[in-house]
Amino acid sequence: MIATALYIAVGTVGLAQVLAMVRLLRGPHVGDRILALDTMVINAIALIILAGMSLGTQMYFESAMIIAMLGFVSTVALCRFVLRGDITE
């Protein structure tokens, strides 16, 4: 049962990841690209958690946690750069 659910989940998240990437490449504005990158970071967290579930290990939990905790820093830095030109004023 869980296996089927995992298949569906991985398929969905994977599709989301591909679509986010398409958005990232198409743009058109730099804001779209940064948001797409942020979405991809979120999807990556999901993929890692799903991989951990399908393999039945907690080993990957920390990676997911670190991405969740620090992934937003890159997004914020990129945004600051676009908006203010300097990330530490």
């Binding site: 990556a44 920390e62 830095a77 530490t88």
Partner: protein, 951 residues
């Protein structure tokens, strides 16, 4: 005294003069003299054994697998040279004490002198040719320091450089020759090599070895065509010239030829080459010496000539020649050292060494005149002085030597050489001391103090004693000759004697002396001819040659290395691919032994995205911000892939490094335009693309092959897996490798990391204090700025996140030893937590609240790691040995403590400090003029507004 101590004494003693000079010149002199005297006495304690035919040895294994051992031995040949080096060294030290003026740094001088002395003693006592080479190079280096001692004189510096270039080049050739010799025999021990004459001479490598070794000897002993460096080395202080050019440095080449005599000599090549080089040098040196007006230049060329003479004697390959060579080495050392010192005395008294300004000095410097006459006549080969005996032996040997099929050639050339030699000796005496007293001396000449004349006077004892009664030296000379010959041939019947009867040599001697007098009488017309004749100037040729070589090297390296990164990358890629292809096509590869893993849809998807992102990155590469965003994707996919391939440690590191990289590059983008300009033509871009594809395909192919085949060697993983817990007390093998198995590497790496961060800091400071500062501060904003500088949302969020992230950092640090994590990742995580504060509330605000300087954190980290490593010494274990144990503090569960944790803490602190120092440097660079530093953390703070209204 042990031979080790004799060799080590001058080296250790070289430290003393520099210290003792603070206690005064006399103390400095006494210290130096004592060191040399101790070594000399130590050597003399071996005299009875040496005379008794015993060979003292001292052996110490250094790198036995390479054949490099500190083996010393003392045979009569080594003894004679060591006694000359140390004995004349003592006299030189006394002389130098009175010669050096108060402006000269005596401590420095004596330090160099002792270094040189140690290196020379090392050469003559070495029983290992590799050690001999080490000492050989040391003499080149220390003589460079001595020759260039008067650093304020350009001639001194140039002379020193020339000497170093020529002798250093010879040393290089010598290394090649010695290694070949060692390969032929299979041992680098001199005593073993000397017993293998047949083996060496039969080897096809004999000729290259001989030529290379002779190049080394000829350069060192200033033989034609390498003779030119020696006269230029005369700009050194006179004690140096007296020491280097009478008894030591230039004799090193002769010593080695004598040492290698049993195995190298006797072949046609040896006889032809060494004899002719020696003869040419002898005649040429003597001829030029006659016309030199500077006393020291005359002596320099005379030294060249006498070295040629000894070289010729060794080259004949007969035992009589060897005996004459040994005897002349002794004689030359005694009279030439004295002559140099006399030249120095004249220079000291009259303040010139130019013979055109000298003459008649016998009236005002009678004592110096006597010394100069005795030594000069000995050099000329006048009977009852020691120079006569050995010179006549040389002439005798010349009569019996056939070169190029002509029995007369050598005899004639040798007589001409002797004639010139007599002529310049007579000129030295007559043009300096004879004639009428002049009244235009640059200074008031007078005989020197005892300190200056003592040394040359002492040297007159052997000059006269051996001249009158040469038989006194015969037993010793025979003993040394026996050591030179090494049992290859019978010792000669002849004896050292004043009178040999009416032999050809006597008539040749007479011709030489009479001819020399006539030649001197013709000095004025000859000198005018010499001055007007065109002649090659060695220094100009040398300078031109060096300049041409330097230009050539420069052109070569500029072609490969012109500052364009594209070019380096292209050359590097193509070279590596070419070498790799060659290895692939000539070597053997195991072939694919593994099956492909199943390609899951998710793996295929990630792979496809990675490829797509990379392609787009290349496509968009002129848009710098787009490149950064695409790099973000690639980093993300790589992190996920690390997880997919079960490498959580790498994934953790990759994620945190990715964040820091993006921040760093964004900081760098501050100083760059958003789009990079097109700088190359389409053709160049195509070329670069082709090279890039070739390189990429090669790497991909290599990785594919490695992944599909088994390991060519047994993998070390098994060992690490088996010993990780047992030895390091951790289940996380990756971490145990970092902090334990390869702890030393990690220790070095954190130091390098710290240094790199400090260098970046230093560069930043230099930029900010330089003219660039104004430019940096007044950059224009490219685009209009939007929003707040320090938005409320972000400040609140980062403040809330800060403790959480720090806690996660601590967690990752603590679990690192047994599960994925560790100091490095924890350090990055904590650094990001701090950087968030900088980003949210601004640099000025955050900097004020930063209490500990980042340099200090780096230092603390390195110190912490180092102290942990040192701690294991107290347990009697080597550096960085781990220990671990289990503890229990009542309310908690049992937990493990390992010393590796202290080390990991060091790694953690270094990483935090280095990353922060690096980013902070960029933050500082990014500051612009006109930005107001807010004193508040948040620009628009509702609570502040309300309190303001209330108040």
């Amino acid at each position: 005294m042990s031979l080790f101590i004799i060799v080590a004494l001058p080296f250790l003693g070289a430290l003393l003069p520099g210290l003792f000079i603070r206690a005064g010149r006399q103390a400095c002199f006494v210290a130096t003299f004592t060191v040399s005297a101790l070594a000399f006495i130590g050597l003399m304690t071996h005299l009875p054994a040496v005379l008794g035919g015993q060979v003292a040895t001292a052996r110490l294994d250094w790198l036995p697998d390479l054949g490099l051992n500190l083996n010393l031995f003392l045979d009569p040949l080594g003894f004679m040279f060591a006694a000359l080096i140390l004995g004349i060294g003592l006299l030189i030290i006394i002389y130098a004490r009175w010669y050096l003026s108060r402006d000269d740094n005596m401590g420095e001088f004596f330090s160099y002198l002792l270094l040189f002395q140690g290196a020379m003693v090392g050469i003559v006592l070495s029983d290992n040719i590799l050690m001999l080479l080490v000492f050989w190079e040391l003499t080149s280096l220390s003589s460079f320091l001595l020759i260039g001692f008067w650093k304020h004189l350009p001639a001194g510096r140039q002379g020193a450089r020339m000497a170093l270039t020529v002798t250093g080049m010879g040393g290089l050739a010598m290394i090649g020759g010695m290694l070949i010799l060692g390969q032929i025999v299979g041992s680098y021990d001199l005593t073993v090599i000397l017993e293998n004459r047949e083996l060496i001479q039969a080897s096809p490598l004999y000729l290259p070895a001989l030529l290379l070794i002779l190049t080394g000897c000829f350069t060192k002993s200033a033989q034609f065509p390498f003779h030119f460096w020696l006269p230029h080395a005369m700009s050194a202080p006179t004690p140096v010239s007296a020491y280097l050019h009478s008894a030591t440095m230039v004799k090193a080449g002769l010593f080695l030829m004598a040492r290698m005599w049993p195995v190298l000599s006797g072949t046609d090549v040896w006889v032809t080459l060494v004899c002719s080089v020696g003869l040419i040098t002898m005649v040429l040196g003597a001829f030029i010496a006659f016309f030199k007006n500077d006393l020291k230049a005359l002596l320099a060329f005379s030294t060249v000539s006498h070295l040629g003479l000894i070289c010729f004697l060794l080259g004949t390959g007969t035992t009589f020649g060897a005996m004459a060579a040994v005897f002349h080495i002794l004689n030359h050392a005694s009279f030439k050292a004295a002559l140099f010192m006399v030249a120095g005395i004249v220079d000291h008294g009259v303040h010139t060494r130019d013979m055109r300004k000298l003459g008649g000095l016998r009236h005002v410097m009678p004592l110096t005149f006597v010394l100069a006459t005795l030594a000069g006549l000995s050099m000329a080969g006048i009977p009852l002085l020691n120079g006569f005996i050995s010179k006549e032996m040389m002439l005798e040997e010349a009569v019996h030597t056939t070169l190029f099929g002509s029995p007369l050639l050598v005899a004639v050339v040798a007589t001409i050489g002797a004639l010139f030699s007599a002529a310049y000796s007579f000129r030295f005496i007559s043009h300096t001391f004879l004639g009428a007293e002049r009244d235009d001396y640059p200074a008031h000449p007078h005989d020197p103090k005892a300190g200056l004349w003592f040394s040359p006077a002492l040297l007159m004892i052997p000059v006269i004693a051996l001249g009158v009664a040469p038989f006194m030296a015969e037993p010793f000379v025979r003993l040394v000759t026996e050591a030179v010959v090494g049992g290859v041939a019978e010792l000669p019947e002849e004896h050292l004697a004043l009178w040999h009867g009416f032999k050809p040599a006597l008539f040749m001697s007479m011709i030489a002396v009479v001819g020399g007098l006539i030649w001197l009488a013709l000095f004025s017309p000859l000198s005018r001819m010499w001055e007007s004749a065109p002649r090659p100037e060695a220094k100009d040729i040398f300078d031109t040659l060096i300049k041409a070589l330097a230009n050539g090297a420069g052109r070569f390296s500029r072609t490969l290395h012109d500052g364009s990164f594209t070019r380096y990358a292209a050359i590097f890629t193509l070279a590596v691919v070419a070498v790799g292809t060659h290895a692939w096509s000539t070597g053997t590869a195991g072939g694919a032994t593994r099956d492909m893993l199943r390609v899951t849809p998710i793996a295929a998807m990630l792979w496809g995205m990675l490829i797509a992102a990379t392609c787009f990155l290349v496509f968009y590469h002129r848009n710098r911000l787009a490149v950064l965003i695409l790099m973000g994707i690639i980093g993300l996919i790589v992190s996920v892939s690390f997880n997919y391939f079960s490498a959580p440690d790498l994934a953790l590191t990759q994620i945190s490094v990715e964040v820091v990289t993006i921040i760093l590059l964004l900081l760098a983008l501050n100083f760059l335009p958003n789009r990079s300009p097109k700088e190359s033509t389409p053709i160049r871009r195509t070329r670069d693309a082709v090279i890039a594809l070739i390189g990429g395909a090669a790497v991909a192919g290599l990785v594919w092959t490695i992944l599909m085949s088994g390991f060519p060697l047994a993998s070390i993983s098994e060992y690490h897996l088996a010993n990780s817990y047992k030895g390091g007390g951790g289940d996380n093998v990756v971490n145990v490798i970092l902090v334990d198995f390869r702890g030393y590497d990690t220790f070095g790496e954190i130091i390098v990391l710290g240094i790199a961060a400090l260098v970046i800091y230093a560069l930043t400071e230099a930029l900010l204090n330089g003219p660039v500062r104004a430019k940096l501060l007044n950059r224009d904003f490219e685009e209009a700025r939007a929003g707040d500088a320090h938005p409320l949302m972000m400040v609140v969020l980062t403040r809330v996140m800060m403790p959480v992230v720090l806690m996660v950092g601590v967690y990752i640090f603590l679990r690192g030893h047994n599960e994925p994590g560790g100091g490095f990742v924890a350090g990055l995580v904590v650094a990001i937590a701090v950087v968030m504060q900088y980003m949210a509330s601004g640099f000025a605000w955050a900097e004020k609240r930063q209490r500990y300087p980042y340099h200090g954190i780096i230092g603390a980290g390195v110190l912490c790691a180092g102290l942990t490593g040192i701690g294991s010494w107290f347990a009697g274990e080597p550096f960085l040995t781990s220990a671990f144990g289990y503890f229990r503090i009542p309310p908690m569960q049992e937990f493990e403590l390992a010393t590796a944790m202290g080390f990991d803490l060091g790694v953690f602190l270094s990483v935090v400090g280095a990353v922060m120092l690096l980013l902070e440097s960029f933050f500082r660079l990014g500051r612009r003029a006109g930005t107001e530093d807010s004193e508040y953390a948040i620009d628009i703070d509702p609570s502040r507004t309300s309190t303001a209204e209330e108040g």
